[in-house]
Amino acid sequence: MKALAARRHHRLAPVVLLLLALLVTGGVYAALAPEKAQAETVSTQDIETGKKLFQANCATCHGANAEGTAGVPSLIGVGPAAVDFQVSTGRMPMQMNGPQARVKPRQFDAEDTAALAAYISSLGPGPAIPTDEQVDATLGDAANGMALFRTNCAMCHNAVGAGGALSEGKFAPSLFGTSERNIYQAMLTGPQSMPVFNDANITPDEKRDIVAFLVEQREGSAGGFALGALGPVSEGVWAWIIGLGLLIGAAVWIGAKSS
């Protein structure tokens, strides 16, 4: 200790202390700093891959630089959330022209989708892909989600998200099989006929409540077979087919049995 005390006035002591402090700070930061999400680590490599994929698969309609062509929207500024929604649900690349792009088996894996998103996002800023926490249904309030869904979504998507018709062959799809992330992204980006529900309109927490409500619907009905959750029409069809079918069948049997 004596040696240390003797040298603490050495003129290089502050430098050594500074180095030590930096080392500690750096070590603590390295240990505690949040790891960056994979989606956000955008490398120029990704952007290059994305650009090539875009030019091979998307540019025919959306233009060589995603500037859009007649009747096809520009993708500058739509953000990675829109790309991830459209590509991961298989809506894009579009299978065929029609009233609206249909869901189909996805054409790009997660890596290529991320590269495409990176490229589009490099053209102009837009809504980001939500984090896992933002779409975690267990953290949402289903009751609040239902109230929000009823006032904002049910008029097209049906009371529990079974889907509904829009004009001229367009439709609001059923949400029973849509992933939590895609539901969130759809609200954020407003694909096709759907309006955009930005974060000022429905806050991220409220969006998560809606996701929680929709996930809750997948557990089925307390009353038995949900019959598609389509309401009185499907109930009526089943009443005639199953109910009256069984009863008339029984009546024919009783009437045919001679004593």
């Binding site: 109230a147 009353g223 009443a239 005639w240 009546a251 009437g255």
Partner: protein, 577 residues
């Protein structure tokens, strides 16, 4: 009539009963004279046919409605006061501000043991009740069971149908959820569309501006007191008249307007009816136990602002929904001297059902008038033998089904990948074309079937046996029909159009009432101009004696003319009127 009443007096002379049941029955009989009633009813004969059980199905589902409904009233609170829903289930309702009616519906479904089962049994029973009424009514219509003396009972049945609609509608609205509230809002709009008095009536019904705070308690009274009491009373009348008239029967050998051929109530028919009751009840409970219906917690508590996609009424109201959906909105709302005449609501929601219901009310009387028929009928018509009636029924039915499909146009669009706008336009055109096409096709089918019957009676079944004569000629041998088969095909009326007195009377003056007669004759021609007359005995004899190949079958048929229309009773009981 049977001689049941005579036997009660002779009961005293009979040896005293020895069994316990016998003693109890005797005790009761000596004090109430119930033996006569039992004897009368035990021997009452019912004809056997599955379609005669359709009305029973309606009755039994009504009993299921009464039983499950009584259970539901124990837990339902008809109040529109607001409350905080405190229950844990369903999670989507916890903490929400809802009406007491809605909260009590949820509590009944999730807290009360068997409550959800009872609710679902009640709702399925309602759907089946209306469906069996409609099918029963179709049976009565197409077989002409509404003819004299049963016209009044047809009207009683029609009133029951309307009361069934009223019961269904009032009950559907009670849980105070978004979907039923949407239905009430449409009702409000329809009431308001009635010229001059509409808005006053709406204020009267809702006790102020829609939705107010009175409609649920009011509908509750209508649903659990007024309508069921009327239904019970009219069912009693319906059944009383049925017993009084005796049951109709399908045509067949030995069956005439003067008898009923079938099985006695005891032991046969009571067993069948009891069995049918348990089957109906079993099916209803099975449906209630396994198939979700009207999960009101999916729709949420009523609030006038939201309407969700796929908002439709129960099936029996769907034709009204469809009629509203088909009606074009532009240019159909007229303002005359400051009064709005909303034809876009008035026509689809008042005029269209008005036409259907008027048709159902007047048809029995109309048909009797154009047939000039005042006889009693207890033997049913085969639908083919009255082509225009059958065709009219199918025409109305086709439009009813079309309107129900129009009420589901959004679901048809999404499930079949079509454009809702195009579906709507196709339905608008079909609304006018389909009944005409259905009428023409059905009438032609009926006439064709009648001609086929005629052909069969005259020439018999093709046997598939080819015989070659010595001279090289080939003929196919036809097997003659047996008596039962022939009876069914020849024993019907093919009335001719009305004949009216000439325009001028004996003194050459134009007769009063000629114009009206002429119009009735025109309508009668519409009904009976095209007809296929039944084969007469003379025609049958001629058919059997002419021609070469018929000689082959003539052997066993010498008595043919006499056999036509004679028929014979098959080993069943027969009761004279």
């Amino acid at each position: 009539m049977s001689t049941a009443h005579d036997t009660t007096t002779t009961a005293a002379a009979a040896p005293a009963p020895t069994t316990r049941t016998g003693k109890a029955a005797d005790y009761l009989d000596q004090r109430t004279g119930i033996g006569g009633v039992v004897k009368e009813f035990a021997r009452k004969v019912f004809p056997d046919h599955w379609s005669f059980m359709l009305g029973e199905m309606a009755l039994y589902s009504f009993i299921a409605l009464l039983i499950s409904g009584v259970f539901l009233t124990m837990f339902f609170e008809p109040s529109m006061a607001l409350t905080q829903f405190e229950g844990e289930y369903p999670a989507t309702a916890t903490g929400q501000t809802v009406s007491v009616a809605y909260a009590s519906t949820l509590e009944m479904s999730f807290e009360v043991r068997g409550g959800l089962l009872m609710r679902q049994v009640h709702h399925w029973s309602a759907l089946i009740f209306m469906a069996s009424i409609v099918v029963h009514m179709m049976r009565v219509f197409f077989t002409g069971a509404f003819r004299k003396p049963r016209e009044l009972n047809w009207l009683v049945g029609f009133t029951l149908l309307i009361l069934g609609l009223a019961a269904g509608f009032s009950g559907y609205s009670l849980p105070d959820d978004v979907l039923s509230g949407n239905g009430l809002r449409i009702t409000d709009g329809v009431v308001k569309s009635i010229p001059l008095i509409g808005s006053y009536m709406s204020y009267m019904i809702f006790g102020g501006e829609f939705p107010g705070e009175h409609i649920i308690p009011r509908l509750f009274t209508v649903h659990i007191l007024l309508v069921p009491a009327l239904i019970v009373a009219l069912i009693a009348l319906h059944l009383f008249l049925m017993v009084l008239h005796k049951h109709t029967q399908f045509p067949g050998g030995g069956r005439t307007d003067k008898n009923v051929v079938g099985y006695p109530a005891l032991p046969v028919y009571v067993a069948k009816m009891t069995g049918n009751f348990f089957i109906v009840f079993g099916v209803l409970v099975l449906m209630g136990a396994t198939m979700a219906i009207n999960n009101v917690w999916n729709y949420g508590p009523y609030d006038p602002s939201p309407v969700s996609a796929g908002a439709q009424p129960d099936w029996y109201m769907l034709f009204l929904e469809g009629s509203l959906r088909l009606m074009p909105g532009q240019g159909t709302e007229w303002v005359i001297f400051g009064y709005t005449l909303p034809l876009n609501v008035l026509i689809p929601a008042v005029v269209v059902p008005g036409i259907l219901f008027t048709f159902l009310i007047v048809y029995p009387f109309l048909e009797a008038r154009v047939t000039g028929d005042k006889r009693e009928h207890h033997v049913l018509d085969r639908p083919r033998n009255v082509p225009v009636r059958t065709a009219l029924g199918v025409a109305f039915l086709s439009d009813f089904i079309l309107l129900a499909a129009a009420g589901s146009n959004d679901l048809i669009a999404t499930h079949f990948g079509m454009s809702i706008n195009e579906i709507t336009w196709v339905y608008r055109i079909l609304f006018f074309l389909l009944p005409v096409a259905a009428f023409v096709v059905t009438k032609r089918l009926c006439l064709g079937l009648q001609r086929k019957d005629r052909e069969l009676v005259l020439h018999g079944h093709e046997s598939g046996r080819i015989v070659r004569y010595a001279n090289g000629e080939y003929v196919e041998v036809h097997t003659p029909l047996d008596d039962q088969e022939r009876w069914m095909r020849v024993n019907y009326d093919a009335p001719a159009p009305l004949e009216i007195e000439p325009k001028m009377d004996a003194r050459g003056v134009k007769r009063k009432g000629y114009g009206a007669d002429k119009r009735w004759q025109g309508l009668s021609r519409f009904f009976y101009e095209d007809r296929v007359e039944p084969v007469t005995p003379a025609q049958l004899a001629a058919a059997h004696s002419h021609g070469d190949h018929d000689a082959l079958e003539a052997g066993g048929q010498q008595a043919a003319p006499a056999a036509v229309g004679s028929g014979s009773t098959t080993g069943t009981d027969s009761q004279e009127h």
